[in-house]
């Protein structure tokens, strides 16, 4: 079964990629001076003790006197058993802090991702069907505007207009609102809107251009000659082949927005999600938490690419699974 083998091979490759990334992360940390050691040394010097001895003691306590390969194995074990250490700043395990972040991030990320996946291709297809009409120009203008404006800046403008001036939406995010409540929907409207406009542009453009190619394909003439209605022709005969190139853009684009823009948007709207947690960890030099967030984002990116590879292969029947 070629497809199954292909998926297994891709998954194994994804695991290998995470392994390489974890190793690089470990080396970077091992090479960098540990702030805790210099802090211990400073502390000792201030209190009249021996800074060298204090530094050594601290290093021993943290296991830094062990040879590099032992520390590497310990580190690997920690990463793959989800023992990601203690967040000093938040006074809780790193994994727990990240889970709390995911809880809030998912509440707005899932809606905007779904909206983008549904609206983007449909608007792109509509644009292609009405190419160079005012409808197409309107949709294209919208796509480019959303694409061009930095998300955090757009978010600030929206907060200023709709929350501060018009008072239509709450200014601050209330984390205690139940997930499935009107209050929660209300307070997530603006962040979801910002992220949809930011991510939909590229997807609309790709679906417009790809479907523009397919709507003039010979098989569309066949479909018309068979008596297929225009709606059915677009929804099936154009949309289906468009999904193949679109799938690559879709996953990539969503990942970019998820990993990059979410962080800034969360800060603007005061959502205590993954982005906010990462930002605070950076400000407070909370090494374990930064590391944990980095690893999490890395895994999400690797998973996204894995999904993209598999979806692409399944969508295009002409791709052979053998010898890959």
């Amino acid at each position: 079964m070629g497809l199954l083998r292909y998926i297994l091979a891709r998954t194994a490759w994804a695991v290998a990629v995470t392994f390489i990334i974890v190793t690089i992360t470990f080396l970077l940390i091992a090479l960098a001076p540990d702030p805790n050691i210099s802090q211990a040394a400073t502390q000792a010097a201030l209190q009249g003790g021996d800074p060298t001895e204090a530094a050594q003691r601290e290093a021993e306590m943290r296991g830094l006197d062990q040879p590099l390969h032992i520390r590497y194995i310990d580190f690997l074990q920690g990463v793959y058993t989800l023992e990601w250490g203690w967040s000093d700043n938040r006074a809780q395990p790193v994994t727990e802090a990240l889970l709390e972040g995911i809880y809030y991030t998912a509440q707005y990320s899932i809606p905007w991702t779904i909206l983008t996946i549904i609206i983007g291709p449909i608007v792109g297809l509509y644009s292609a069907a009405n190419m160079y009409s005012w409808k197409d120009h309107l949709a294209t203008g919208f796509a480019f505007a959303g694409w061009a404006i930095p998300n955090f800046f757009f978010a600030l403008i929206l907060v200023l207009i709709f929350s501060v001036w018009l008072n239509l939406f709450p200014l601050s995010y209330d984390p205690s609102a139940p997930v499935f409540s009107l209050q929660n929907v209300h307070q997530l409207v603006l962040p979801v809107f910002v992220l949809v406009t930011g991510s939909i542009g590229a997807i609309m453009r790709v679906s417009r251009n790809e479907s523009a190619e397919f709507q003039n394909a010979a098989f569309m003439k066949t479909a018309k000659a068979k008596g297929v209605s225009p709606l059915r022709a677009y929804a099936l005969h154009v949309m289906r082949p468009t999904l193949v190139p679109l799938s690559t853009t879709l996953v990539g684009q969503i990942l970019v927005i998820f990993l990059g823009s979410s962080l800034l948007v969360e800060i603007v709207f005061g959502i205590p999600g993954l982005g906010r947690i990462t930002f605070d960890a950076l400000i407070n030099q909370d090494t374990n938490l930064i590391l944990g967030a980095t690893l999490l984002f890395t895994f999400i990116a690797v998973m996204g690419n894995l999904v993209e590879d598999i979806v692409f292969t399944i969508l295009d029947p002409r791709i052979s699974y053998d010898d890959r």
């Binding site: 394909a217 010979a218 098989f219 003439k221 066949t222 479909a223 018309k224 000659a225 068979k226 008596g227 297929v228 209605s229 005969h237 289906r240 082949p241 193949v244 969508l315 295009d316 029947p317 002409r318």
Partner: protein
């Protein structure tokens, strides 16, 4: 006939049509123009013809003569805009050129089916061939999926796809060019159309496969009792298949007649020039000197005047000549030499291959 009439009623219509000598298809003054950046391009200019039930009519002419556009204008497969189609298309007693897009969709694929030139691109690469045939069936008939599937497999088997039930779930790229064209024919026959429009269906195939496909079409025509409107530039194919022949040049009909008249008594200098290109008529394979006139600004008079060896000053004046009787009642030619003031003698004497002594 209305959009929701049953097959029986349609057959009855066809039967009465035959009794009253009404052709299956009667195209009147069909004109198709395209708005382009260089002005209006007239691809088909005031073309009329008829197809009787069960008959094979070939439209022949060189590339760019408007053959394909003419056939695709019948059921308005041509996109409008940029295309603009005028004229009347009487199919089984109804002017389908005047009916709604919705009614026309019933005719397309249901009663008039198409097979196109390039089978490589004529099918959607993302759907299995079975899915595409089932779609053709279920758009026109309210049959369950399983029954449609069964019929699709029968059709695949009939057109010569080996192991049809297994190949039903294969994608187009898993078929060879000839097999794809067989699948396209199966798809066209899915609803037993009365008229099959075959637009150079063998041009993209290699020679051995070409003759197989032509044989298949001839067999199926008898089985399904359908008329075929066949577009080609290949005179060999015309000789093999046609009952009636229409010779087109630069969007105009130059000559029409039975296959016998066209090959044995070609009367238009253009038809003669076309036949003259065939090796068995003494052609050296050089083609007809000159090029087609500019379709956005056709010259006055006869469209073929610039390439014609019998040209006289009158040829370049007025409209394109109207069709005049040539040798038989149903054999007409659009050439002023056949008019009351013309002398067609030299043209008749120049008939290519008249010294062949066999055929």
């Amino acid at each position: 006939m209305t959009a929701n009439s049953t097959t029986d009623e349609r057959l009855a219509d066809a039967a009465t049509g035959e009794q009253t000598d009404e052709p299956l298809l009667r195209v009147e003054s069909l004109t198709t123009e395209f708005d382009t950046e260089n002005g209006t391009l007239t691809a088909v200019d005031d073309v009329s013809f008829t197809v009787d039930p069960g008959e094979t009519v070939c439209i022949v002419g060189e590339s760019g003569s408007g053959k394909t556009v003419a056939t695709e204008s019948i059921t308005r497969i041509i996109n409008q805009p940029p295309g603009r189609i005028t004229g009347e298309v009487w199919f089984k007693g109804e002017n389908i050129a005047a009916c709604s897009e919705r009614t026309l969709r019933e005719v397309r694929g249901g009663e008039i089916a198409h097979v196109f030139q390039n089978p490589q691109e004529a099918m959607n690469h993302c759907f299995t061939v079975g899915w595409q045939i089932v779609e053709a069936i279920r758009i026109h008939e309210d049959v369950p999926e399983a029954a449609a599937r069964e019929r699709a497999i029968e059709l695949l088997d009939r057109v010569g796809i080996d192991n049809a039930s297994a190949r039903f779930d294969d994608y187009p790229h898993e078929f060879s060019g000839g097999q794809k064209q067989r699948v396209m024919i199966a798809m066209a026959l899915a609803t037993s159309p009365d008229l099959l429009i075959a637009d150079e269906p063998t041009t993209a195939l290699d020679v051995t496969v070409q003759s197989q496909i032509l044989d298949l079409l001839a067999e199926l025509q008898g089985e399904f009792g359908m008329a075929i409107l066949f577009v080609t530039h290949d005179l060999g194919v015309v000789a093999q298949l046609a009952d009636e022949v229409i010779v087109m040049y630069a969007g105009k009909v130059m000559e029409r007649g039975s296959v016998y008249d066209i090959f044995e008594r070609p009367s238009h200098p253009y038809t003669q020039a076309l036949l003259g290109c065939l090796p068995e008529y003494g052609g050296a394979g050089g083609g007809i000197p000159g090029i087609l006139p500019d379709p956005t600004a056709p010259p006055p008079g006869c469209r073929f005047a610039d390439r014609c060896e019998f040209v006289v000053p009158d040829c370049r004046e007025g409209d394109h000549p109207s069709e005049l009787p040539a040798t038989a009642a149903d054999h007409t030619v659009a050439c002023i030499h056949y008019g009351p003031e013309g002398d067609a003698g030299p043209i008749r004497d120049a008939t290519p291959g008249s010294d062949r002594g066999h055929r």
